[in-house]
Amino acid sequence: EDKVVQSPLSLVVHEGDTVTLNCSYEVTNFRSLLWYKQEKKAPTFLFMLTSSGIEKKSGRLSSILDKKELSSILNITATQTGDSAIYLCAVEARGAQKLVFGQGTRLTINP
């Protein structure tokens, strides 16, 4: 059974700090790994990482896929209070018509 584990489950830091969120997975025939940000309602898409695109960056956010270690990290530098959210990691297997999500990391940025 495909499985995604995120750590830590919860993280509280001060504004301006840098944070690293972790995601490890076990999936048969891996195709892609995705990161989402969920503030209050709908999760919004951040990054998709595949074998042909193992590193993505957008502003203060960046993500790397380590296919050897079956894991990914999401880095946020110079955090702001608006970064407070639940960050979700999900994986997709080839031939599967679904995403399997981890438990999420609840990130709180204090001013």
């Binding site: 195709r31 709908a42 999760p43 998709m48 979700l88 997709e92 018509q97 679904k98 995403l99 999420g104």
Partner: protein, 113 residues
Amino acid sequence: SQTIHQWPATLVQPVGSPLSLECTVEGTSNPNLYWYRQAAGRGLQLLFYSVGIGQISSEVPQNLSASRPQDRQFILSSKKLLLSDSGFYLCAWSPGPYNSPLHFGNGTRLTVT
């Protein structure tokens, strides 16, 4: 552009009552459609997905069911709600055949009392 609508936004229902949550997608055809549930502060659990009209795959055995009567309409139902059905229900769509990335609706917060 594509949009997804989900309603109602919140719902409070007594145990044993029926449930119907509806989701529609605009601006695309033959999307893959999904129902996820999220317990408080946790990740998303896939309940059902559909790759076409009348085609429903169930991931978790329970007292919920799903139907896709039209190409861009996905309905989540229950005949009798349980307390454990409380949660945040999210509908999502993606272009087939591969489903990433998913685009989510704003969700329905269901409280069963």
